[in-house]
């Protein structure tokens, strides 16, 4: 190293290469590099060790298990406000809960759009959307009395007209779980019937129905968002029964209602 000039440290030269210096400092190093070969050589040496990183790491980005990570994220339930009691009135809390359900659906749709590009089959997507929604339900969500038959019938009538079904409180009654409400949702611009129950043993359970012309399929099971799903379809509709109950029990329940929809 020449003695008449102070060799900048590797740190300074790195900051120079990275443009992380004041303009005055940059000028000083540039001046040194132009007048001193050793400095120029050291800059060249350090520069050689700092190229093409972005390109080198790009393939790792492609290797990320994107689909799995997205499903994982979708499976993390929306946070209930932990400081809810002091922060919001009880009414405020329920307003927040309702908002979170709406947000859940929006998030679902975002996820599903991404999911589609990865090439998931259509049949499983709506079930995932439902599962993400139902995952937000707790027994408390469904607390309260079972609506009387006429209220049930009125709720079901709204579904009937949109989904070309003829549901009655009897057809949708399940052995064990209590009917809590029937509502009309929408999935990808298609009406989606959601009939929610509270099973005294396992908690929230739901029967969901959507138009489908993929053809009749025998019941199958899958796990989704920590719940079990039994799904099947007729020539005109796809069905899913989802809940925290064991598969065997869900199958049993599905078998009792399935014949009512084959007509």
């Amino acid at each position: 190293m020449s003695s008449d000039i102070r060799m900048p440290s590797d740190e300074d030269l790195t900051a120079f290469l990275d443009g992380e210096m004041s303009p005055q400092e940059m000028d000083r190093i540039t001046g040194l590099a132009n007048s001193n070969e050793e400095v120029a050589a050291r800059i060249e040496f350090l520069a050689a060790g700092g190229s093409s990183f972005r390109e080198a790491f790009a393939p790792l980005l492609e290797q990320a298990p994107k689909e799995r990570l997205e499903a994982m994220l979708a499976g993390i339930p929306t946070q209930e406000r932990k400081h809810g009691a002091s922060f919001a009135s009880r009414r405020g809390f329920f307003g927040a809960l309702a908002a979170s359900l709406v947000i859940g659906v929006i998030a679902d749709r975002t996820y599903l759009r991404l999911g589609r590009s990865i090439g998931k089959d259509e049949g499983s997507e709506w079930r995932l959307a439902v599962a993400q929604y139902i995952a937000l339900y707790t027994a408390d969500t469904l607390a309260g009395p079972v609506p009387p038959a006429d209220v049930q019938a009125a709720q079901l009538a709204r579904i009937d007209s949109k989904l070309d079904l003829a549901l009655s409180p009897e057809t949708v009654a399940l052995p064990g779980p209590d009917f809590k409400r029937a509502q009309l949702l929408q999935y990808e611009d298609r009406p989606l019937a959601q009939i929610v129950y509270l099973d005294p043993e396992s908690g929230p359970m739901a029967l969901c129905i959507i138009h489908s012309d993929d053809g009749a399929k025998a019941p199958d099971v899958e796990g989704c968002k920590g719940m079990n799903v039994v799904y099947w379809s007729t020539a005109t509709h796809a069905f899913m029964l989802i809940g925290h109950a064991p598969v065997s029990r869900l199958r049993e329940i599905a078998n009792t209602i399935r014949p009512k929809f084959t007509a």
Binding site: D10, D18, E20, A47, L61, A64, T78, Q79
Partner: protein, 201 residues
């Protein structure tokens, strides 16, 4: 800004006990606003999952650990959604969460359990399938970076791959800027030296 306050009252006031009870209506708005920001974080997370996984892989060199890190980062970020300052870079915030989980929880427990990190089979290098010329060069560089100490690896990655400033890297790694500079300088010197050796081979 008035608009920002109306949207995110939780950022500045949630923790402060106000002597005046706010009206019921404004409390409802507050609760909804906090949740709305959680939805923002969720959306941002969706966009950055692969990036986070890659950083997890750079730190841990293990795919399964990287996945765990992303999951814990998601949970933590959603829990702390109100702590995110809107208008700042979400990816930086997520990187720093991931980094602190790695440092304080995962790596710490692995050290306690006596597990090392430099298992020969666990490297950054990707599968060789369809190795084009670009991939070969990239793979060689990854191999060299893989030999760097974790401290240098993470600094290099954040500064040169993710393109963060020294200050941002310092904040994520929770170290002084001078330390960022020395890690980058040391890594550059090593990689350049390794490249020179490679040429002589």
């Amino acid at each position: 800004m008035a608009v920002a306050h109306a949207l995110f009252p939780a950022y500045s006031r949630a923790e402060m006990a106000s002597p005046v009870r706010p009206a019921a209506q404004s409390k409802t708005i507050g609760a909804e606003a906090a949740i709305a920001s959680e939805a923002d974080i969720r959306k941002g997370l969706t966009e950055h999952l692969s990036q986070l996984w890659r950083y997890g892989l750079v730190l841990s060199r293990k795919r399964d650990v990287a996945e765990d890190l992303v999951q814990q980062t998601c949970v933590r970020a959603l829990e702390r959604a109100v702590q995110f300052a809107p208008g700042t870079h979400l990816d930086r915030w997520l990187f720093s969460i991931l980094h602190s989980i790695w440092l304080n929880e995962i790596r710490a427990s692995r050290v306690r359990n006596g597990q090392g990190f430099a298992d020969a089979e666990d490297t950054l290098v990707f599968d060789g399938a369809g190795a084009t010329e670009t991939h070969v060069a990239a793979s060689q560089l990854l191999r060299k970076i893989d030999k760097l100490p974790e401290a240098q690896r993470s600094a290099i990655f954040l500064a040169y791959v993710e393109g963060l400033s020294y200050r941002e890297v310092a904040e994520i790694l929770d170290i002084p800027i001078g330390t960022v500079m020395s890690r980058l300088a040391a890594a550059r010197a090593k990689l350049s030296g390794a490249a020179a050796e490679g040429k002589h081979e």
